[in-house]
């Protein structure tokens, strides 16, 4: 069974440019998460989806970040415009329907460098 797929794996852009990341979760997983991980730190939640509904986006900087999960499967995270401080690894994870006991399965991440 395929795991969580993310693309691209690496992205280098200049500041003020837009960038988008794509995630395909494990088949059958209703819950999808986007995390930001800075170097030497733990992942921080940006947004959580239950099917196509964003149920927790309280930590998403909505002035420049946006996300969508059309049809409740694939998801895209966008930054427009990117800033130097956005350089980080963006992780996507999925799990069975939200519940305390369901672990998250993580993709390999997209490493973003903003110059």
């Amino acid at each position: 069974e395929a795991g969580v797929v993310q693309s691209p794996r690496y992205k280098i852009i200049e500041k003020k440019q837009p960038v988008a990341f794509w995630c395909n979760p494990i088949s059958g997983h209703n819950t999808l998460y986007w995390y930001l991980q800075n170097l030497g730190q733990g992942p921080e939640l940006l947004i959580r989806y239950e099917n196509e509904e964003a149920v927790d986006d309280s930590q998403l900087p909505k002035d420049r970040f946006s996300a969508e999960r059309l049809k409740g499967v694939d998801s895209t995270l966008k930054i427009q415009p990117a800033e130097l401080g956005d350089s980080a690894v963006y992780l996507c994870a999925s799990s069975l329907q939200q519940g305390n006991y369901n672990e998250q399965f993580f993709g390999p991440g997209t490493r973003l460098t903003v110059l």
Binding site: G3, Y33, Q41, G42, L91, N100, Y101, F105, F106
Partner: protein
Amino acid sequence: AQSVTQLDSHVSVSEGTPVLLRCNYSSSYSPSLFWYVQHPNKGLQLLLKYTSAATLVKGINGFEAEFKKSETSFHLTKPSAHMSDAAEYFCVVKGYQKVTFGTGTKLQVIP
């Protein structure tokens, strides 16, 4: 409120000696607790999870963790470190609709 504290940012052990990575948590609910491992340039992988069935939880690669409610701890242990265990380890608490990661402990294994 919910939080998790990994007490050591770096731990260094010799190959073949025991490993102890410490984690303390706080939660207003009865939480689930997880340990994940992250090797360089790799995705996060689940080592083990506590879901209230048993306080001593066994995971992959010889790791185990003990849930101690009185101490609000969930420390990760392994009897004998292997070179391949060198990685970063994250303790995670999951309460009602909220997931919180610790800041991570980097494990170094010296040959």
